[in-house]
Amino acid sequence: MALSTHRTTTALLRHLTPAISYLRHISTDSTSTITVETSVPFTGHKIEPPSRSVDTTAQELMSFFRDMALMRRMEIAADSLYKAKLIRGFCHLYDGQEAVAVGMEAAITRKDCIITAYRDHCIFLGRGGTLLESFSELMGRKDGCSKGKGGSMHFYKKEGGFYGGHGIVGAQIPLGCGLAFAQKYKNDENVTFTLYGDGAANQGQLFEALNMAALWDLPAILVCENNHYGMGTAEWRAAKSPAYYKRGDYVPGLKVDGMDALAVKQACRFAKEHALKNGPIILEMDTYRYHGHSMSDPGSTYRTRDEISGVRQERDPIERVRKLLLAYDIANEKELKDIEKEARKQVDEAIAKAKESPLPEPSELFTNVYVKGYGVESFGADRKEIRAALP
């Protein structure tokens, strides 16, 4: 895959070299359009796939690199924190799949909603979450995005349009449908991206939700992040038809190389346009996770180390963007290394700050169970808390 990208870019470069060298020193500020071809063409089901050529800018590519480096660094740091027993319980890491998060963000606005399952740390970051909130939540501290009460699987950011963070496989799909329903109800021209995995693709709720979304033309985009393993079970052992983008039957689908951030961006933009006009669409992101399903899973009992390192060498999303940046002379090796160092520094600082954050107060055990509002809370014998004012 890397070879083909290189060939196409060198082919393009032959025509553009004079212009590119002119751009060399304006690297990160450049907003002139660069057209890149995706690694593989899109495959469509009941729909005409978008073109392989993606328009991007140097600025955007640099932001991809920066964001993905930060996400990768965050996940690796979370790995060490888990092994140091500062993060407990379940910790599902997203490294390898960063392209889906950044590509999607590049195509949409914060008014669009994203809802995903439990592998949510990087998407949270993409939606405007900070490293401090993320690490604090992982360690169960007060400064976490959910005040330490949610944990790894329950990151939410209301202002960023990020609806979580759900532990039960597939349960977020009808919720995503509901978000799309509300968007249609309010007529606000936004869409909902509902992410689920190849394991969840076998849940009945998905098909129920697809039926309803298609019936009422809800602006829902169902994104299957196919990392080929549902915990320890490979997709060919769990699904009779692993062509998840075709599973929608009457709902059109698109298969996308999920390790190519630009392809993801193109697909998401295409899907958003489609959903606003014609209703739901399924996107299957062909991606891969380097870690196991979670930190309790070594990840090597059901797949070979060769496979993992093979994907890392050939399809790694950060490497792909790095090669693009170098090929188009947008940045040099040193600058990119500096960005990675900067990411590491930011992550280390955030972890230090998060470690200082206190654990939640004991009284927090009972807060946020109910919303205080209409009606009276009856706590029990002889105590009745009265709401002060009638609305």
Binding site: G148, I173, L175, C177, G178, V369, Y374
Partner: protein
């Protein structure tokens, strides 16, 4: 506020100032819906005019039959109110709330064009359109999930389960998402959803359609459960549930939909967490809810003739329990009988027994007796079905036993 606090549960008359407030709010309530609705206490303490009568009624023990809700409806101002059936009362409440707030929408099977399998949503689809009164396919799990997702963004959906038993299919969504999202998101999202539907034993509907499963939901943290039993409280609780920012499960009963009653013309909203004093008494506290209230009132007639004076409380709020009202009653009578339609094992009555024992043990003169339906699937045969439930004769016998 101090005035109202003192007014709870005691027989003290409300102060003159609160009466004045009520009169003025009654007058303007018809004009300005937004500002001037009022919360009505279930024991009628806030009403003007008839307070003298009510107090006198409480002192007179020889009332043969329960003071019915007519006292409440007749007490409000000078209007006589209007008569309707319980499902129409639910519809009225629903319609008023949909008029008041455009974010309120209904979703469920056959709620739109068909008008609802129990006619609760009849005519609403024509008035509000297909998106606001949404006919869903038969997919409880996902349309309940859809309602919860919509609620996360600020809509106020009402999900109708055609029968509460079908909601078992949506249990994951109700338990994990509906109840917990407010907590696990650290308060970022609230879920102002109402899940309602009929449950309970009907007329030979068979085991799967006669489930008494309020107790299955009672442990879910974060939700509130209420059960309506009269047209008056059905409308009031429906409105309160819709306005509440918490997820509320409203349990109706299949056999109560055609109860005719006179309810006030004015807008009123009831308190979700409060129990209703149906018949004040001295000898024994009978706690009940939903359809069993009527079996209890029938038994009360017999009991009064035999010289007993039962105090009947319709607990209405199944989660949380209104331990305040219940506690005051227990302190007065020292004997408790719980009559419910829920299952014997792990039912609402079982939890209530535990709660009362924990909190009021010193005030009890006898162990709490709990009459619930049998731990069997509801049989089809009429006589067997009858014996699955608590009958008035059993209630009379239990009270006699308890008051020995």
């Amino acid at each position: 506020m101090a005035a109202i606090v003192q007014g709870i549960g005691s027989t003290a008359a409300p102060s003159a100032s609160s009466n004045k407030f009520l009169l003025s709010s009654l007058g303007s309530s018809l004009l300005e819906k937004k500002r001037n609705f009022f919360v009505v206490r279930s024991d009628g303490k806030c009403y003007t005019g008839l307070n003298q009568q009510q107090r006198r009624a409480q002192n007179v023990v020889t009332n043969a039959v329960a003071t019915k809700e007519e006292k409440a409806s007749a007490a409000v101002g000078s209007k006589p109110g209007h008569e309707l059936l319980l499902f129409e009362a639910l519809r009225e409440g629903l319609e008023e709330e949909m008029d008041r707030d455009p974010c309120v929408c209904v979703m469920g099977e056959d709620v739109g064009h068909y008008g609802g399998s129990y006619k609760v949503t009849k005519g609403l689809a024509e008035k509000y359109g297909d998106l606001r009164v949404l006919d869903t396919p038969i997919a409880e799990n996902s349309f309940t999930g859809m309602g919860i997702g919509a609620a996360m963004t600020g809509l106020r959906p009402i999900v109708e389960g055609m029968n509460m038993g079908f909601l078992l299919l949506a249990f994951n969504q109700i338990s994990n998402n509906c109840g917990m999202l407010h907590y696990t998101s650290g308060g970022q999202f609230k879920i102002p959803i109402v899940i309602r539907g009929p449950g309970g034993v009907g007329r030979q509907l068979g085991a799967e359609h006669s489930q008494r499963l309020e107790s299955y939901f009672q442990s879910i943290p974060g939700i509130q459960m209420v059960a309506c039993s009269t047209a008056y409280n059905a409308k009031g609780l429906m409105k309160a549930a819709i306005r509440s920012d918490n997820p509320v499960i409203l349990f109706e009963h299949v056999l109560l939909y055609n109860l005719k009653e006179r309810i006030p013309d004015e807008e009123y909203v009831l308190n979700l967490e409060e129990a209703e004093m149906v018949r004040p008494g001295e000898h024994v506290t009978i706690l009940t809810y939903s359809r069993m209230r009527y079996h209890v009132m029938q038994a009360a007639k017999t009991l009064v003739n035999k010289g007993y004076d039962p105090e009947v409380i319709d607990i209405r709020s199944l989660k949380p329990f209104d331990l305040y009202t219940i506690g005051n009653s227990v302190k007065k009578t020292h004997r408790v009988l719980i009559v419910e339609e829920c299952m014997r094992t792990g039912g609402i009555g079982a939890s209530l027994t535990a709660a009362i024992n924990e909190n009021f043990h010193d005030h009890l003169d006898a162990p709490i007796v709990c009459l619930s339906s049998q731990d069997v699937p509801t049989p089809y045969a009429g006589t067997l079905e009858e014996w699955t439930l608590v009958q008035p004769a059993q209630i009379v016998a239990a009270v006699e036993q308890l008051c020995l």
